[in-house]
Symmetry: C2
Subunit: 164 residues, 2 copies
Amino acid sequence: MAVTGPDANPEAQTRDLPASKERLRMWLRMLKSTRRVEAALRERLRRDFATTLPRFDVMAALARYEDGLKMSALSGVLRVSNGNVTGIVDRLAEEGLVVRVQVPGDRRASLVRLTRKGQEVFAQQARAHEAWIGELLEDFTPEEARMFSDRFDAVTHKDEEDPA
Amino acid sequence: MAVTGPDANPEAQTRDLPASKERLRMWLRMLKSTRRVEAALRERLRRDFATTLPRFDVMAALARYEDGLKMSALSGVLRVSNGNVTGIVDRLAEEGLVVRVQVPGDRRASLVRLTRKGQEVFAQQARAHEAWIGELLEDFTPEEARMFSDRFDAVTHKDEEDPA
DNA sequence: CGAATATATTTCAAGCTCAAACCTTTTTTG
DNA sequence: CAAAAAAGGTTTGAGCTTGAAATATATTCG
């Protein structure tokens, strides 16, 4: 706990708030920024590709693991509930973008994989997505972006998922 | 557009990626961090207060505007669709945490306000919330948190909502 | 004034999300 | 081996979310 007491600095400057207030402020700003970018992405994915952010997220995860992912691994990577992924994969499968492949030795599990069509569709979306992010975060220099990445990583790496 | 060309730096270091890749990386980290904190908040709000993040968000907005907010202003502040707020306010009203007050001169609009009970309930939740954020973001020093706040603000302030 | 337009909000359908309950299959262990 | 426990997934119920359509009231302007 690197939390300094509520009044570690009695001679506080005008705008010097206690640590918890500063962090709260940061959180609110961070949340607002994230929502703004998410909203823009969602709108553009809908407009240009008639898809949604969760679908994009699932496809992105599958694109990173070419051998496919089990449902549980998928929900682990995306950090959403397993019941959640079921529905999204169902819909993607209906459209022929992903397939569920039976795992040889285990009749419970199935491996989800992008179809060829899924790969092609995702490649287009990913290109657009990268460009959109580049634009939405254009106020951040590459160096600054790298610094932010690294700092966020510290928070994120407190416990991590890394499926086979 | 402060976007340098894809190969502005031909002598790139090992880990020096083009701007759009750096920003993409930053975005993914930022999203992951945000989701992690949101998940923790959601879980704790449920466990300790039997409430949800959207409900907390609505109450937080109303707490900031003591004179109440119109539905449209509320959805503007929270940056969610107006149809969305309707349902959340409905449920909060059922529990007596907020009220809809008729606006004198306009029979279309109504002002949403925290009830006394709502104020009391929210005060407790807000205290816990601030402590949770302080803990979840303990890796960030107050100075760092301030810096992040300011940088995010730049992105956020591209267009802003500020209701009466 | 009255028609067109704009504003405030709700309703709706579809999809996302979670936690909990529930199957089924596998693994553990008494 | 058989019972118990664990693991992989799906279903369910409630709530959140969006964009679009619907409703009702206000305002504009011809």
